[in-house]
Subunit: 288 residues, 4 copies
């Protein structure tokens, strides 16, 4: 997504750290407070005010200088307090992947205990969706092409693990739900996969569109969209207020984000290589 | 949609008439009451209980014997009282087209005065959407390929009429809304048109998917769905409770459904021909 | 509500005017823009962040210096654009009374065409509630002790006018609604009147608590609150975002606020006297 | 609540049992199904259709013959499937107390993980509210006059236990929440206690009015209701659809209802005596 960012450019959107100093008129934080960054800089609450023709993507580490640095300067409006029960390495994973899952399932989805949730794959958002859904008492279905990853997902709370290499996963969903389908489909793949999400969703269920792993247009048969009448909701991370809600929830549901490996600041190339290899959980860089 | 209906089969889903006689234990109606039929037989309130794999379409005149008849027998649960301010010819148009527009904009959409609504074309649902939106104080945009139809739409309350043969209608929307886009897009076309609906919709706006005029899959670029994060809602008419709400509203907003021509019962062939020719407003058959 | 405001103090919360000059970094307005003030200074969107033990009342003209002045300086965050279809004298009435009625009926109430609304009396909020409800296609009931005021209310769109001196108004409501009660009760009286609002409300209806004309505690029989299960909502004006929504709506529903008399700046004592005498509509001071 | 029920009358509203036989045309159940009864007979989904002047109370064991019997005959519409993870003795407790708590917190309240919930006392509804709130990841506060009951409540998941005999419980709430107050107050006392609930609730929080232990009118100072703007919701148990949702949730959150003692059918007098003595958890009669 080349966006003409000015060079030199500091990448990175997800940060946890300590407030070293505050400017004049700061009211939200004091020196020494542990904080995490807000992904959509300046989106505080309510709807995102965006342009309909050429929507901006005003995020930290993209439109604004990022956080892969020992020290950053940013508006106090772009920060929230870190959760008390997480380390910095864990807390920084909430900023994008955690909030996206929370926003889809809770803020927009109003997930209730006893509902069914489908998670596709084991990427960062998918694992948070699995953990949040399980913590809320939902019945979680997950698909993956790896039995090993499914076993780990089961340990994290997934009740139904489907290897999509071994069977048609939509048929498995129909069978496992007695053809009732899934209340909340978290579609982190997109493109042509959306048609399968529509096949899997329950009547009047919800599909959260999050990912663009498949580069084709998002598409599905129109008849199914009318007959089953799902709510389809595009998700673009979330507001600072919702991030604060997530932080509060994390402390009470004792959610421990899944992290893959940690790297030193000077190991950034190895960290990116690990990302390319397919991590299970978030990769953390310790800049300190 | 061949569905193996038993022959002889009576078609027709939309009916207004008078209760001639009631069966034992009837509590909702008395002889002489003016009533209209409910499209989705047996869907009373809340979510539609449907099969996720092979969703049924349990509607009158399709899965059940229809209403193109001088007398019909049906459960009192499938009827609601007719509005007091409409003739039978007008009242019967609420059953499918009227309720679909109401369900999209009001029941699901929560439309508020001052919001923007885009109506595509001048079909039955589109005209109801135009009239309901205008009655609720919305700012209505409409597209058509006919200047004559646009002129009639303007007389019905549309504030912005766009001839999609003469200009790119999405660009017109962007220009007319100062690139803020449309709060409620009523997409009665579907298929590849959905991509244009996504281009036209406001950030965090709503697209109601209603029609299948375009037979291709419903598709749009994934990036726009994430950046603008619209709510996309498949609409399959609505419940009996919502039909009752619409009836009550019709009397208070003095909504007069647009009807095209009326035909005698024995003119059914001509009525169907008129439908094929492209009616403006609903076609009515007087069976009495 | 003596709150230790510093003297000299400028009263007044509702203002319409023109931006004379903008400070460095201003982005929301330009010189020459017509604006109105936001009642709850700093409440932009979402929930009001307030203290549960000693809730503040951070409003303009109370906690902050007010607007009864030829020139005021305030943060651009405390202003919204004025509606294009209203004069300044009309526009300033939206700030408190208009937004309160809008917030109760639309933002919180989700009012739909065809629903019933009860307005109690003919104060500023009550008249806005009447006009907004009627513009949205609701069926409006109003009570007053004056036949003359009821006649004016009828001209503004009220369908059922009840003189509470001549009959028990709750019994009138029961009779007029066929004992179904009222969907949205706008209680601008409070205190012991709340019990009558509960008697009048429909099963699962809504009561918006707005006024404190009766100084007794707000009270009602518990059994009725359980059996009819209304939603009771305290209303404290509303956010800046909702004020922007109202402004947009006003232009599209052509709402013309009811104003009583206008006074010159040096006639303030007479204006306050008129207020004490019981105005019908808002009183305006032209400070220019 | 003497209601002129015909004698002989069978009391009791909460039942779990097995379908012994089904009538012609039954579709929801088969012989042998484990079922529980629905409290509000005939309230299936959506709003309760009730009279505004003299609201009915059409519940089983009150307006209809009850369930304290070895065999009962009732419409299949008045039953839902029992949860798979509960015994009959546990399952029957969901019908009234369980559904009331669920309806207040989840159906109406939309409770989210991380929010604060206040439970007053340790009655049947209160204990369910505590357990449901904790299962959803909420932070639970509870008041009681007994340290022993508070200790048991702590074991059930309450994080903050306040002995209202030893301190002003509202002041304790203010202190423990850093004066932010409580997001969801479950007021099972009513009457004059409502004023304390209003003092305790957070700005824009929610108070569910459930009980009538205090026989005075429900009352609170009007100023607090406006400044804090809580949503106050009368709760009258709930619909059959919500009971089905609760049953599904119970199986997934592994909720085990708290039961006090079980009695044989012929020990009914002792059971009622135990009820009068103040049970902790629900009392069960085994009629089999």
């Amino acid at each position: 997504m080349g966006n003409g960012m000015p060079m030199p450019f500091t990448p990175g959107s997800d940060m946890a750290g300590v407030v070293e100093a505050v400017g004049l008129g700061t009211t939200r934080f004091n020196q020494g407070d542990r904080v995490i960054s807000s992904f959509n800089a300046g989106w505080i609450d309510g709807k995102l005010n965006n342009n309909a023709k050429n929507p901006h993507y005003n995020t930290i580490g993209y439109a604004y200088q990022g956080v892969l640095a020992e020290y950053v300067v940013m508006s106090e409006e772009w920060l929230v307090k870190a959760p008390q029960t997480l380390t910095d390495a864990e807390a920084c994973t909430l900023v994008c992947a955690g909030l996206t899952a929370w926003f889809a399932l809770i803020e927009r989805g109003g997930l209730r205990a006893g509902e069914t949730v489908l998670v596709q794959g084991t990427g960062g958002v998918a694992l948070f969706a699995l953990q949040i859904a399980r913590a809320m008492g939902a019945e979680v279905f997950i698909t993956s092409s790896s039995d090993a990853k499914l076993a780990t997902a089961a340990a994290l709370g997934a009740s139904h693990c489907i290897n999509r290499k071994k069977e048609d996963w939509v048929e498995a969903i129909h069978r496992l739900t007695n053809e009732q389908g899934i209340d909340h489909v978290v579609d982190t793949v997109g493109g042509r996969n959306f048609a399968d999400s529509v096949r899997a969703v329950a009547s009047h269920g919800r599909i959260s569109l999050i990912g663009m792993m498949d580069t084709h247009d998002t598409s599905a048969p129109g008849a199914m969209l009318l007959l089953k009448s799902p709510t389809v909701q595009g998700i673009g991370v979330g507001q600072r207020r919702a991030l604060g809600d997530l932080v509060r929830a994390v402390d009470w549901i004792k959610l421990k984000p899944v992290t893959d490996k940690s790297f030193r600041f000077d190991e950034l190339p190895q960290a990116l290589e690990q990302l390319d290899n397919g991590a299970f959980g978030k990769i953390v860089i310790n800049v300190g």
